[in-house]
């Protein structure tokens, strides 16, 4: 059959069939993920994190990720935003300054709390987008190879792999069972919320029975492939074909070095120079100036 596919399925969603990202070694991608996801947590100033988000968007675009799939995260992003803002509205911090944007009844919207909520929100969004980016450009095996190259022992990656595989089997069975229900006239759209819950609990019985059966089968499969739970074979280190096949290239090394250097710089400027604190942020000071003339 002719090759027409544009995307490839993973447990979590889809990844593009082709992407410039695939030229990078999994470990470079993993480090990129760790940096893009974790660095914003060090940075309080919203404008830098917005910059981060923009960069991630460019990377998504550049890697051919289907951006329309991001829509499904929109409700979640909005809900998180509302929750964070409400929390800081009702439980404000650093109120002694007394800068109030507006009031409802006896509740006041404090300027500092508002800015703090915004800072946290944007950091969460950055982390979320970085995760989406990572899981939209990496398959299960890239993730595993990434971890193994970072030096995680065989046992860890073995169990992680098995968990992924079981999750895959579970989801596959779930999808087929849903199709089977549909074939027998069940229209989920017509069910009330209570009905949906009850009906989901009905799935669980066959799903778990099937899963248990299949897990038994898999353990037999592992046995028959001669699996022994140690990182050694006949006293030598266990060979690792994928890790061997995917070698770090010059570009990978450069990228990793750059990311690490940049991360160290960010941490340095944050902890020692304190460049990224909220109070020093350009946005914070501008808004403070425009609203309160301070």
């Amino acid at each position: 059959m002719e090759q027409t596919r544009k995307m490839q399925r993973t447990i979590i969603g889809y990844i593009p069939a082709e992407s410039p990202m695939y030229a990078l070694h999994p470990v470079a991608r993993l480090i990129l993920f760790l940096a893009t996801g974790l660095l914003p947590l060090f940075i309080e100033a919203p404008e830098y994190n917005v910059l981060f988000i923009i960069i991630i968007f460019f990377m998504l675009k550049y890697s051919h990720v289907n951006l329309s799939r991001l829509k499904i995260f929109l409700p979640m992003m909005i809900t998180v935003g509302i929750i964070i803002n409400l929390t800081y509205f009702f439980f404000p911090i650093n109120t002694e300054e007394g800068l109030i944007i507006f009031s409802i009844g006896r509740f006041n919207a404090h300027f500092h709390s508002f800015m703090w909520a915004m800072s946290i929100y944007i950091r969460i969004i950055a982390l979320l987008l970085a995760s989406i980016f990572y899981f939209s450009t990496n398959r299960e095996r890239d993730i595993l190879v990434g971890f193994r190259t970072l030096g995680f022992p065989f046992i860890v990656s073995y169990f992680f792999g098995l968990i992924l595989r079981s999750a895959g089997i579970f989801l596959e069975d779930y999808a087929i069972i849903r199709e089977a229900e549909q074939a027998r006239g069940l229209d989920v759209r017509n069910l009330s919320f209570g009905g949906k819950v009850k009906h989901f609990s009905m799935y669980l019985v066959p799903l778990f029975t099937l899963s248990i059966r299949k897990c038994e089968d898999i353990s037999i499969g592992l046995f028959s492939k001669g699996t022994e739970l140690s990182g050694k074979v006949d006293g030598k280190k266990r060979p690792d074909y994928l890790k061997h096949k995917m070698k770090l290239q010059r570009t990978d090394k450069w990228i990793i070095a750059t990311i690490i250097a940049a991360s160290l710089a960010v941490v340095y400027f944050d902890l020692v120079v304190d460049s990224f604190s909220l109070e020093n942020a350009w946005l914070y000071r501008t808004l403070r100036h425009t609203w309160f003339n301070l």
Binding site: S219, G221, S224
Partner: protein, 284 residues
């Protein structure tokens, strides 16, 4: 030398009243192609699982008797030693897919038995060509059709080059020509690599072409064990045991019965063709 020796093997699954294997005695010589046939629930899978050592290793139950592979008791061997001697392909290809891509699936077993990475690369290439799955290496299990999964399962075992290969209904989901390809492959492997091949199959047609000997399992016992050539001489006995007799053999028997001269019925398609042509010529 005998590749497999089974003595007085009795096996009962926990929670079952009757044993699944009721006193099996069996000797299989090295470098033979053995077909195992029999009705559902007869104990075929249990028998081959006992050879591989899955029984008693992975199941609870009562086990009596000995299974020896090349003279060594299989319950004394470690999983790794067993994997080097005997490989098994299961009926349900999903069941043994333990990794997230075809490439990993095949290399995983090779890593387990300690092949070095260069060798793994070579064997991957070799086995993918043999089983015709070159285009699938990157794919995860849920992107393969049933037939493709079966092929990958077979490839991952062949790659380990064990001395005995057991296949439990390995081609049930394959289309006819792919079925042939798998069987022909097994034949080539048997000859080139000096393997002992054991195939459990409901489809007798292909076994008849390739197997040196057939085993008929029925109700936990070995009902008949003998050369393929003469296995179908008593057709009624075979059909009684819920075995589908291939059409051409059935026809040949009808012909010989109607001639009533006590001729032996051949079972290979070419021979049947020759015999029938011969009869027609001779009768003229």
């Amino acid at each position: 030398m005998n590749a497999i020796e089974i003595k007085d093997l009795i096996w009962r699954y926990e929670g079952r009243e009757t044993p699944a294997l009721k006193g099996i005695n069996l000797e299989i010589e090295e470098n033979q192609f053995i077909g195992v046939i029999g009705p559902n629930e007869a104990g075929k899978t249990s028998l081959v699982a006992a050879i591989k050592g899955i029984i008693p290793e992975n199941y609870n139950g009562i086990y009596k008797g000995d299974v020896k592979l090349f003279g060594k008791l299989n319950r004394d061997s470690s999983p790794r030693e067993l994997a080097r001697t005997v490989g098994m392909v299961f009926a349900d290809p999903d069941a043994q897919f333990t990794s997230m891509s075809v490439e990993e699936e095949i290399s995983f077993g090779l890593e387990n038995i300690g092949c070095d990475v260069e060798e793994i690369g070579k064997r991957l290439e070799w086995v993918c060509k043999l089983t015709n799955i070159e285009g699938l290496l990157e794919k995860p299990p849920y992107d393969l059709s049933g037939g493709q999964k079966q092929r990958v399962a077979i490839a991952s075992i062949i790659a380990m080059k064990p001395k005995i290969i057991i296949l439990d209904e390995p081609t049930s989901m394959l289309d006819p020509i792919s079925k042939d390809m798998v069987f022909d492959l097994l034949r080539i492997m048997k000859e080139q690599l000096n393997l002992t091949v054991i195939v459990v199959e409901h489809n007798v047609e292909k076994l008849v072409e390739l197997a040196d000997k057939l085993i008929l399992v029925h109700d936990g016992q070995i009902e008949k064990y003998g050369a393929t050539e003469t296995f179908f001489d008593d057709l009624d006995f075979i059909s009684e045991k819920s075995i589908r007799v291939p059409g051409a053999i059935k026809f040949m028997h009808m012909v010989n019965a109607s001639r009533n001269k006590g001729e032996h019925s051949p079972i290979q398609l070419e021979e049947i063709e020759k015999t029938v042509k011969g009869y027609l010529k001779g009768d003229e």
